[in-house]
Amino acid sequence: MNIQQIDAKNIYFPPGGILMWIIIFLELITFGMGIVAMVYCGKQEPNLFHESRLLLNPVYGVINTIILLTSGFCMAISVLYLKTGNKQKSKKFLLITMLFGMLFLIVKTIEYKAKIDIGQSINYNLFFTFYWLLTLFHVIHIIVGLVILGSTYFGLVKEKTSIEDFESSATFWHMCDLIWLLIFPVIYLFF
């Protein structure tokens, strides 16, 4: 594996690569617009949004936040180990990262099932339309992130993954954390 030092202070080489950061900003702007639209609609119908928000269980949101932060922590440690040449520990932490990502999906599935069982689907009201759209769009990012991490793991095993690719994958995974950190408070706690 090619391990080389990149000058992160260079404007063209942010950690994870400039293309990944362009994607991150596009994603953040997209989710940001969704959040602004939700807050705007919430101000038009405050009672509906408040009562609907009370139908959500914030414990699921807090648990999922802790799961994603733990996953992000393991990813950061994994990158650190790879940079110091400890590939075995890097692989171990990458696996733990993926495990927490899957745990996030399991908790989300339980939450979604509970909502569908009592009829609170995407058509229930405007609050739930935003809830389903924003969280499902985020879940899709988590699934894509897991596929990327899986491919990175096998690349690491076969010694085909460079440190830049590994860092880009990690940056994508952290982006999922960032998006969740924005949508979690607005959906579960704000209204």
Partner: protein
Amino acid sequence: MKKHIIITYVLLIVLTIVSGLTYSVADNNIPSIILLLSALKFIGVSFYFMDLKKAHIFWKSAVICYLTILLIVVLII
């Protein structure tokens, strides 16, 4: 380096639990506090987990600007 990541992680978990606990508090300022806590977590993840603190000032400013604009817009609406 590893120590910074561990400290950041512990702080992020504490901030998440504090955000969760504010759920039951009835106060007009709670939404602003929740958003501020969330902004702190966002900075923690981007600067320490994503290593943005080592990046060029442009990228750091871009993240801070995005966060500031989003918070201001959400709080003004």
